[in-house]
């Protein structure tokens, strides 16, 4: 075991220096180098989490002379409760009350660049960075106090925003921070508070954002009203291929209260004094516009999977162990998942203002820095002249219309400088133009030996990319419609180990001989990008359905069969925990048409572990699936806000159940036909289970493991497995609509 190197300040150094500033200089010298220095990275262990990219402590934590503490994160609140968890971490390590911390999140003028808030990375990246930054900041303050009070650090304690000596003397943080004491490079390791001594981390803390949300406070970008704000709406083309042929804007221009009509190629928008007028004017423009559309732009919805499999693919073998082998029994199956949407309840929204050739954008984008880069490219402006500030939007679950509407707002604000412009998409815009989770196909084949052990495994997955996020202007919807249009950059597969379409395509199970092949399809018939879990939803659905099919072939209990092939102790523990709380007994007979199903995965094979058991009933006459209950067990490493984790898992199960039972984007040869909640139904209260129980396996002291997407795949497979248990019929094509189920089970 390595002993973590502590920030070592001998009493002599401190006394010799004799002042905070000097200490800080000496610290700086001892610890690393100044932020401004451009010298080569010192060769040492990598810094934890996002400290890698932003190593200066004061990028993360600043303490003012009045003692007020500000914590900075490049990650954004998306409804996952990240603000609260980050505040807990900082408060715990700094020894202050959570309420004493102000958190600034995702602002290109203020916070570190942490890329996207995605992939369940926030806790691993930002949480880890803040954990270490806060611990190191605390030790710096203790070190300074030691110098001032002339006592060894062993006799000092940080608590309540001050450093206390055992003789009763205290120095408030504000008194200790003269100079840039936190303007130092972080160390690879920190002296973290003992997990057993935690009073804030690991305890469920009420979310800091909820009170405003339930009382009508300003909580969302939709709620911003900077003085002088005007409203705009965009007239979206009726389809991907549509380009504006002709429009007479004059009658709309003459409507009183209409301030301006913005047109650039096929990008058409209207600015009005009042919001409803903007909506009416937008509708009038839509009525007046004529478009050129390609009547054969899209493939047939009915044969989309054959179409996709027929497209050219770039194949990569992402796992190849052992030799192809045969066994006593061969099992084969294919699974399909249609396009599915994020379906944010609040359509995307942004506010932008162009003043003195500088653009400020309030956005619920998941990545303020990449958005800034893309908007800069689109507007041909230097990025330094653009500031993107994250303000929460409605839950996004990945790459929805957030960036596109920000680009809309930027274009409109440029055409109408001096006034803040608020743009919100209409429901139809969000449904028809958000980038969907891609349609996918998986084919699995395995061999079992006589004892029911998997001896060979082959798995293929076909998919488009799972990220067309900005960074490039060509990934912003309105940029495609400009008179001088941008074009989609060539899509690329996201690399392993996290992967995109192949995320979680490699099972965690013990497989002596296995091949996993990712068939990456560059051509995108429908607009696609990251939807919660990316390929993991489909791959886990497929793998974990297939594991049940194998268990059935082996005559084994599904839970026992999984354990039989699993070495990872933490994986085994979530499985046994979920099974036990569920009351999983393979011998137990359920009422007729009832079934139960089990599934497990470790998200990305790197993040949180989740096992889910589901009980449901299939109404035989209608084929309707009624969820009765779900029990989940998760291991997210050290749990910072246990209730926050539970909330994420509960929500993930319900959302995944909605995808799995109901959802598929509809389209004809020309247009998207799922344009409202009637043509794209999602789960409502009548469909949610009677209860969901989430059991946490806390691992104090262990690294944080992102949880936000951990439930999506296992919930889907558990439902599929439970339907198979209830009906004796295996369904492999998502979603499991009543019609499909009924057709499969027959009369």
């Amino acid at each position: 075991m390595n002993v973590p190197p502590r920030i070592h300040l001998s009493r002599r150094t401190l006394l010799a220096g004799g002042g905070a500033l000097v200490v800080s200089f000496s610290l700086r010298a001892a610890m690393a180098q100044d932020a401004q220095s451009t010298g080569p990275e010192p060769r040492q262990a990598p810094l934890p989490g996002s400290l890698k990219g932003s190593p200066m402590l004061d990028s993360w934590i600043r303490i003012a002379a009045d003692g007020s503490i500000t914590v900075f994160t490049g990650k954004a609140e998306l409804g996952q409760g990240i603000r609260t968890a980050l505040v807990q971490i900082a408060a715990e390590q700094l020894g202050v009350a959570p309420a004493a911390i102000a958190l600034v999140a995702a602002d290109t003028a203020q916070t570190p660049n942490e890329g996207y808030t995605a992939g369940s990375h926030s806790m691993q990246d930002s949480g880890t960075a803040i954990l270490h930054a806060a611990a190191q900041a605390r030790d710096i303050l203790i070190g300074i106090a030691a110098g001032r009070l002339s006592v060894p650090v062993e006799r000092l304690k940080a608590d309540g925003g001050a450093v206390h000596a055992d003789d009763g003397r205290r120095l408030a943080y504000g008194e200790l921070v003269a100079g840039n004491v936190l303007n130092v490079r972080a160390q690879p390791q920190s002296k973290l508070r003992e997990a057993s001594a935690h009073t804030i981390m690991g305890k469920s803390m009420p979310r800091v954002d909820i009170p405003a949300k339930v009382t009508g406070g300003v909580a969302f970008v939709q709620d911003l009203r900077p003085p002088g704000m005007v409203h705009a709406r965009v007239v979206r083309p009726p389809s991907y291929s549509a380009r504006l042929r002709d429009i007479d804007v004059k009658p709309v221009e003459r409507m009183s209260g209409v301030l301006k009509i913005v047109r650039d190629g096929s990008f058409l928008a209207v600015i009005a004094q009042r919001e409803y007028l903007a909506v009416m004017a937008m509708r009038a423009l839509a009525d007046a516009a004529t478009w050129n559309e390609n009547a054969q732009a899209l493939p047939e919805e009915q044969t989309i999977f054959a179409h996709l499999e027929g497209l050219p693919a770039e194949d990569s073998t992402i796992l190849n162990v052992g030799q192809p082998a045969s066994g006593a029994r061969m099992v084969e199956a294919a699974y399909r998942r249609p396009y599915q949407m994020h379906g944010s309840i609040g359509p995307s929204c942004a506010v932008a203002v162009m003043e003195n050739d500088a653009l400020t954008l309030w956005t619920h984008s998941q990545g303020v820095y990449p958005l800034r880069k893309a908007v800069a490219e689109m507007l041909k402006m230097p990025p330094e002249r653009i500031r993107c500030i994250h303000v929460e939007g409605s839950g996004c679950y990945g790459h929805n219309g957030a960036d596109d509407v920000a680009a809309d707002a930027a274009l409109i604000a440029r055409a109408f400088p001096g006034r803040p412009v608020r743009v919100q998409w209409m429901r139809e815009d969000e449904h028809a133009f958000e980038p969907y989770g891609p349609a996918m196909i998986a084919r699995a084949k395995a061999a079992l030996d006589r004892d029911g052990t998997i001896v060979d495994w082959e798995y293929h997955v076909w998919s488009n990319t799972h990220s067309t996020r900005p960074g490039a202007a060509g990934n912003l919807l309105p940029a495609l419609h400009l008179a001088a249009p941008f074009f989609h950059p060539a899509p690329r597969p996201l690399p392993q180990p996290e992967g995109g379409g192949d995320r979680n395509a490699i099972p965690l199970y013990r497989l002596p001989n296995a091949r996993v092949i990712h068939h990456f399809i560059p051509t995108m018939p429908l607009r696609v990008s990251a939807l919660r879990g990316l390929g993991a939803y489909m791959n886990i659905f497929s793998l974990e359905s297939f594991m049940d099919e194998l268990a059935a072939a082996a005559g084994a209990d599904p839970v026992e069969f999984r354990l039989r092939h699993l070495d990872d102790a933490r994986a085994r523990e979530v499985i046994t925990t979920a099974a036990q709380h569920f009351g999983w007994r393979s011998s137990e007979r359920l009422p007729s048409h009832h079934g139960r199903g089990f599934a497990f995965a470790r998200y990305k094979n790197l993040a949180a572990y989740a096992a889910i058991a589901v009980e449901l009933e299939v109404e035989h006459e209608s084929g309707r699936v009624r969820l009765a209950r779900a029990v989940a067990a998760t291991d997210s490493g050290e749990a910072v806000n246990p209730d926050g984790i539970r909330n994420q898992i509960e929500g993930g199960i319900i959302q995944s159940a909605s995808w799995t039972l109901y959802e598929a984007v509809g389209f004809d040869r020309m247009r998207i036909t799922s344009r409202d909640w009637g043509s794209y139904p999602i789960m409502r209260f009548a469909g949610v289970p009677e209860r969901i129980d989430v059991h946490l396996i806390d691992r104090p002291g262990q690294p944080f493991l992102g949880t936000g997407e951990a439930a999506q795949g296992p919930a889907a497979a558990a439902i599929a497995n439970a339907i198979a248990d209830a009906t004796g019929v295996r369904l492999r094509d998502l979603p499991f609509t009543p019609e499909r189920v009924k057709r499969a089970i027959g009369v």
Partner: protein, 164 residues
Amino acid sequence: MITLTVNGRTHQSDADPSTPLLYVLRDDLALNGAKFGCGLGQCGACTVMVNGEAIYSCVVPIAVLEGRAITTVEGLGTADNPGALQRAFIDEQAAQCGYCIPGMMMRAHALLQKNPTPSDEQIRAALQPNLCRCGTHMRILRAVRRAAQTLTSATATNPKEGVR
């Protein structure tokens, strides 16, 4: 000019009588509670209460609201002094993104006014028109149950209290 009574206060609105209430609440009265979700009466994000009934404010023009009592989530209490329903949602941590929540609360509020002791089934049925994409349903149900309990026990001790 149409006179609207919102959370007990009257306002003159110069908006066109056909303007849906939602836009007047948000843009003219600067109330954030009611949200735009679909503008089609399909999701319930814009739900407010009018004379005891939950309505979709995105499809109800102000022309029909003269003289009727409009209640939004702001009328249930404040962040510093939350009403029973708001308290219950905070206590149950019944939000993820929270965008759907004010609409859920107003629909629940209208239910509890009519039926202070709803069964689980009745709560689900009442909330059926409202969508939540984050999957916060279990917590929303718990919060409504909790609010019903606090309100009925409050009414038991002091009959004047009750749903505001």
